[in-house]
């Protein structure tokens, strides 16, 4: 989970941790507390955050249909939840493997690049207004990872399995 801790535990098979190792351990433990507190805060914020995002997205992308906006919101609820967990675990690979590897192509196929970008920007702005700068520093790398990976050039719509069968 925490590579720093894992490395320490691996090295400390037959000896006590050195003072500098213990300092690293304390640092990681303190950071874990901060991450846990932030995770709880993100969970509590989720409902208000996405209600606000939905309203702002509807006015910013008035041309988009409610179905499309709902789909985009779903993508960013997913990205938000998996980013929160990846932040807690301090593990970018969690976000990559459990969500982004699977979701990226789906987002691209929906051809909603502009709405996706607007949603991600609004989400970030809403978060910045609700979290402290230290908290933003903790979660931002994961949200940026999601934004960078998901907002790729669009590809053609493939339809549904039933349509292809027909």
């Amino acid at each position: 989970m925490y590579t720093d801790l894992e490395a320490l535990l691996y090295q400390a098979e037959n000896h006590y941790l050195t003072p500098s190792d213990l300092q690293t351990f304390r640092g990681v433990a303190t950071e874990l507390q901060q991450r846990l507190a932030l995770y709880e805060k993100l969970r509590e914020l989720e409902s208000d955050l996405f209600e606000a995002l939905a309203l702002q997205l509807q006015s910013a992308c008035a041309d988009a249909s409610p179905a499309h906006l709902t789909q985009v919101l779903q993508h960013w609820i997913l990205a938000f939840r998996y980013s929160a967990m990846a932040m807690l675990l301090n593990q970018p690979q969690f976000l990559q493997r459990r969500l982004l590897e699977w979701l990226t192509d789906i987002v691209q196929v929906h051809q909603m690049g502009a709405v996706e970008t607007t949603a991600s920007n609004l989400l970030l702005t809403l978060l910045v207004n609700r979290l402290s700068p230290e908290q933003i520093d903790l979660v931002r790398p994961y949200l940026d990872q999601a934004r960078t990976t998901l907002l790729h050039p669009e590809v053609a719509d493939l339809g549904t399995l039933e349509e292809v069968r027909a």
């Binding site: 989720e46 409902s47 996405f50 209600e51 939905a54 509807q58 409610p66 906006l69 709902t70 919101l73 779903q74 609820i77 997913l78 939840r81 998996y82 493997r97 459990r98 969500l99 590897e101 699977w102 979701l103 192509d105 789906i106 196929v109 929906h110 493939l158 339809g159 549904t160 399995l161 039933e162 349509e163 292809v164 069968r165």
Partner: protein
């Protein structure tokens, strides 16, 4: 008006079901590996695959390919059943109603997580009645002896059964490019048996995948 509370109230929001760290669970003590719903998985070492190829070549000679295709076909039937059940259950919708992009992503992730290589389904020829599957880093190709012809028989059988069950049509599968022949990747073409069978003669004449596809698209079904 978007109902956000309904979106957030879902018991869970599905992600990548086949993420390797979530899908494959192992127990060092018992030496067992299982998937996330508790079904047993079988690890096939290179040595076993090589022994299968060598043993079949010894026992049945030139029919080894047909035997492996049939093995793949039966395997594909069970594989489709499990895939369909697990994916429908996890994503809370029947496979047929899944968005195509989501289905293709699941298929790709599933293939990769099982260690069978990187698979991509190309729907560009669907209007002509063909489905092309591109496969890279195939474990079966790597273990195969050099047969001087496409040799991913197991995968061809597996794909044939899988897509036959998925589409409800009897689809045959022919391999048109193979990593064992020095190609960059393996290509498989799926279609109705009468139409796709025509490719066998062109492959015998050593035509490449692109040429075979051109000819298949221009061809008429055998009467």
């Amino acid at each position: 008006m978007i109902n956000v509370s309904e979106l957030l109230a879902a018991p869970y929001l599905p992600g990548n079901y086949f993420a390797p760290d979530a899908y494959v669970q192992g127990d060092y003590e018992s030496g067992l590996i299982e998937n996330r719903v508790g079904a047993r998985l079988l690890a096939m070492p290179d040595t076993l695959l090589q022994a299968l190829y060598a043993g079949l070549a010894e026992e049945v000679g030139p029919s080894a390919g047909m035997v492996l295709f049939q093995c793949g076909y039966w395997w594909g039937k069970s594989f489709y059943r499990r895939f369909q059940a697990e994916v429908s259950d996890y994503y809370q919708q029947p496979l047929a109603q899944m968005e195509m992009a989501a289905f293709l992503q699941c298929f790709k992730q599933c293939w990769r997580t099982h260690g069978w290589g990187d698979v991509e389904v190309d729907l560009d020829y669907s209007a002509q009645g063909f489905l092309v599957v591109k496969l890279q880093h195939s474990a079966f190709a790597q273990a195969s002896p050099d047969l001087n012809r496409p040799s991913c028989f197991t995968e061809a059988g597996l794909l044939s059964a899988f897509f036959s069950q998925l589409t409800g049509r009897d689809l045959h599968c022919i391999q048109t490019a193979c990593e064992t022949l020095g190609d960059d990747c393996n290509f498989f073409v799926l279609g109705l048996r009468d139409r796709v069978k025509m490719a066998e003669a062109w492959l015998e004449e050593a035509h490449d995948h692109v040429t075979v596809m051109e000819r298949l698209c221009q061809s008429q079904p055998l009467s």
